[in-house]
């Protein structure tokens, strides 16, 4: 380590005094540190015996709840998924539907989410009938409503997962930089202070620092 000290300066600096924090402050900080150590979250080592079931069961319960809430919210809001074409009743219209599947992936996904059901009276061509039979075997009538639900649930789960993931520090910094660009300095200061609190040891790159700090 290159020592840039100057002995005279160091000596004079020491003469300024060796102040220390008050003992009450020491006691307060140490008390907080002890409480924090006691209230540690889940252990880093996997639990053994009966306790090994706790976390999977808890995780499953949380996921189920999140999915249920998300599905409920989705059902409250009419969106593209709720607008589906009328079920095709003839082989021609079924062929049209198959053609339409080539349109675009999102549309195809939407259609998959709400598959059309042929009425019992229709007489599809043999090849299509075979395909229908196969589809019907996969999705028997009593579960017809649960199939789209499963698709919606899949979407909802992905959305729930996205929401659950904490915003990345880089993204937060970009948001703060944007606030600065917009001249919202007070807001940016608050956001930056909160960022520092959440990520006290995060090293902000020089370039980003210029963007997020008050000019």
């Amino acid at each position: 380590m290159a020592d840039e000290r100057d002995p005279k300066v160091s000596r004079r600096y020491r003469e300024l005094g060796a102040e220390e924090p008050p003992t009450e402050l020491d006691a307060e900080i140490l008390a907080v540190s002890r409480r924090a150590a006691e209230t540690r979250l889940a252990p880093l080592v996997p639990p053994t015996g009966r306790r090994r079931w706790y976390f999977p069961v808890a995780a499953a319960a949380i996921i189920t709840l999140a999915v249920a809430v998300t599905v409920h919210v989705e059902r409250q809001q009419p969106d593209a998924e709720s607008i589906t074409p009328a079920p095709p009743s003839t082989p021609e219209s079924r062929t049209d539907a198959l053609e339409a599947k080539k349109d675009s992936a999102p549309q195809a996904e939407l259609r998959k989410a709400k598959p059309a059901k042929p009425p019992a009276a229709s007489a599809p061509a043999p090849a299509l009938r075979a395909a229908d039979t196969a589809r019907n075997m996969e999705q028997p009538e009593p579960q017809a409503r649960s199939a789209p639900d499963a698709q919606v649930t899949g979407l909802a789960m992905r959305r729930a997962e996205r929401g659950a993931v904490e915003e990345a520090p880089e993204r937060i910094l970009e948001r703060i930089a944007e606030l600065r660009r917009q001249g919202k300095h007070d807001e940016a200061d608050k956001a930056l202070a909160e960022f520092r609190r959440r990520y006290p040891d995060y090293r902000i790159a020089e370039e980003m620092l210029k963007k997020v700090e008050r000019p």
Partner: protein, 177 residues
């Protein structure tokens, strides 16, 4: 043999409160002086000092010994101080009415020593923030140039330059006295 800081912090992260106490007692004085010499009042210094340790406690789960614990600690301190300086609380504590060290009973010499110390304190106070911080991190916290750079988010050249300017100005103040 004393346990290294990094080991103590890891032990605390894993729930050992006694490890934190050792660590705290080891660093409290230096960190407190670093903060005290960077702000206006002792009350503010105490508040900031406490907040820095709270952040250390909060960040324990994310602690990984990638550098010396001291560098990590002063990185946290730097960030907190930057927040404080941004709000405009930039100054140094005034010297208490304490006698400077020395065994001279001569009142004239004592006065002279006090004045010299006051000049030094003023010179330290007059330093630009970054230079003063570099000086305090080096002199008080014992950080190397590279560690100052890491703690303050700058580069080694900038850290070295700031420290050199600071020492040169303080040396001039000492020699004036």
């Amino acid at each position: 043999m004393e346990a290294p800081d990094e080991q103590l912090m890891l032990a605390y992260r894993d729930g050992n409160a006694a490890a934190f106490e050792t660590l705290y007692l080891r660093h409290r004085g230096r960190l407190f002086r670093f903060v005290l010499r960077s702000v206006k009042s002792r009350a503010t210094a105490e508040e900031l000092f406490q907040e820095i340790w709270m952040r250390v406690i909060e960040a324990r789960e994310r602690y990984a010994p990638q550098a010396r614990f001291t560098t990590w600690l002063y990185t946290i301190a730097h960030h907190r101080m930057v927040d404080h300086w941004r709000r405009g609380g930039l100054s140094l504590v005034e010297l208490d009415d304490q006698d400077p060290p020395g065994d001279s009973p001569d009142p004239a010499r004592q006065l002279e020593a006090r004045q010299a110390l006051a000049r030094f304190a003023q010179a330290l106070q007059a330093l630009p923030v970054a230079q003063r911080e570099a000086f305090l991190l080096h002199e008080e916290a014992g950080l190397s140039i590279a560690e100052i750079a890491a703690a303050t988010g700058s580069n080694a050249e900038a850290a070295k330059s700031r420290l050199r300017y600071a020492v040169a100005k303080l040396k001039a103040a000492v020699e004036d006295g």
